[in-house]
Symmetry: C2
Subunit: 336 residues, 2 copies
């Protein structure tokens, strides 16, 4: 799955700006892939890039229309389909991270076929993956893990990739979820892979590489999540990581989104378990840092809190949004 | 997926008796479901049950033809298809645990359609499962785990179910792999489920039950296996087990079947990890025993070895084939 840039980011009539998180992520992390946005009247989101119609974007060289927003309820609104069909007719592919598959919408499937274009449903996968080999392979691989879902694993991975790039290190972000895949233009929606192939698909995603090359693998779920820990572990094993960064949200006491019966994972336990379980496939695996969303704290309190965490756990602790991930990349440079 | 008994077990022209393991398991564990076997000239396997043709079996009330053998290479031999089609025409369903799907063979798919019969590909699943809720539920659940694949997890679970049944305890074997599903007539091929739903599918497989009811869940893979540990962990969490039994093969030093680069899981570590990880969803989870294949040892040596294991780990250690699982069920009765 390779999604061709540049993108026309479709926002439709998004009623609340925050729903356009995917589009915002694209512009933040891959501005060079983002040509323009397409908004309907009443759209509450604005990504701060050029406004174009399908025709204008096609003339300007756009290759893919990417749905950059989440419709309430997850279903593609019927009145968006005309625009997607227009994009296919104008020679663009269409990419979506929604649950509902574009390929299941007959009008779009037929239009893609007729115009020889591709529909990318990045939340799904129909690839055949191998069973993991477990064989050692060259290259550095870092994976982000978390004390819960939605604690910044994708953001942290992208921030580390960017910081490494800025320092001239060879680094690639490896996407495992729908937003990450749209940002990177490729990847594997790991939670959509058949169970037997979780680790194998991950091996495919981040294969052997130069000894000084870094794959920064986006983690999924949490070892402390009752629904998704199996995915987390299969991904950890397939990644064969020599380093991991633990992501956390300051003040979160309980798991989120329907799992409030469970406590949020403990940071020290998350380090211990990731190290113990990851060592099966890469004995030297080590924690390279802690990445925390401290939005609930005042800036000075956040600094004190992070300093304390770093001291308790013997690694750098950062808020990647507020203060950047430099201390983590410093530690990685030192350790290798 | 409910496969109706009684079965006509199809063995075709199996060249080596050991390939008919599925048929042998059916006759061993569910003799009451097995009406007869169907063998071609030259078949090296014999399950010791009545011989019947498709017509005879249909007249005698057979409901399903079950493929009870593994063709070399895993592909269904072309010259078997006539017989399967004949079974469909005679009013039987057809069930298979092969990789190759019956439903992908046009002649069989059409015949099933024409005669209103079902094709069961138990290694595959097309059900929609929910994401796991992680909510506590009533009933006892025991899961078998292992230091490797193929160390007797299915056998041990079935032996415990049988022993409990003999004692008048309420117990159901819950199948998670193809052979187990053919034996039980139902279940979920857990390694064929999409990653996001491993734990959720397992919750569906062994839902809340009477407080004195036992679900004996067939484990898969191993926490020590680089390709399948994610499946093992998702299954452990979905099962929400209050007890587990660790399965092992005496003398196995390395993982099997292509993973010889890895040591076999350590028994004590397997107990420790299963307990620690299983406690996420059921804090009281405890090891109920160790079940070992001691076929490589002389009988007296096996007894000494098991006694030593039991003492070291503080639980009953048995060889379920040689000596039965009574000590484990004793311990479970005592503990509950």
């Amino acid at each position: 799955m390779k999604i061709a840039p540049p993108y026309l980011i479709f926002l439709g009539d998004t009623p609340i700006a925050e729903l356009a998180k995917t589009g915002a992520g694209l512009v933040h992390w891959r501005p060079e892939r983002c040509l323009a946005q397409l908004r309907f009247t009443g759209c509450a989101a604005d990504l701060g890039v050029a406004e174009m119609s399908v025709g204008q974007a096609a003339n300007a060289g756009a290759r893919t229309l990417v749905i950059g927003t989440a419709p309430p309820g997850g279903q593609l609104p019927g009145h968006w389909i005309d625009t997607l069909e227009e994009a296919l007719a104008a020679g663009l592919d269409v990419a979506s991270g929604l649950h509902q598959k574009l390929t299941d919408i007959p009008r779009l499937a037929e239009a893609a076929d007729r115009h020889g274009r591709q529909l990318f449903d990045v939340r799904h996968t129909d690839s055949d993956f191998p069973v993991a080999s477990g064989k050692p392979r060259t290259g550095h691989r870092l994976i982000t893990v978390g004390t819960d879902c939605a604690v910044g694993k994708k953001y942290t991975a992208l921030a580390i990739e960017r910081e490494m790039g800025a320092r001239g290190m060879k680094a690639d972000f490896r996407a495992t979820g729908q937003t990450g895949i749209l940002i990177a233009g490729e990847g594997v929606a790991i939670d959509a892979v058949v169970a037997d192939f979780i680790a194998g698909a991950t091996e495919t995603l981040c294969p052997a590489n130069d000894p000084d090359h870094w794959d920064i693998v986006e983690g999924q779920g949490s070892l402390f999540h009752p629904a998704f820990a199996g995915v987390t572990l299969g991904l950890l094993h397939g990644a064969q990581a020599d380093f991991f960064v633990v992501c956390h949200e300051a003040g979160r006491q309980r798991l989120s989104a329907g799992y409030e019966g469970y406590p949020s994972g403990d940071l020290a336990a998350c380090i211990k378990w990731t190290q113990a379980l990851g060592a099966l496939v890469r004995p030297e695996i080590a924690c390279a840092g802690i990445s925390v969303n401290t939005a609930s704290l005042a800036e000075e309190d956040a600094k004190t809190y992070l300093a304390g965490l770093g001291e308790q756990n013997g690694v750098a602790a950062v808020d990647p949004v507020r203060f950047g991930v430099s201390p983590i990349v410093d530690a990685l440079e030192k350790a290798t």
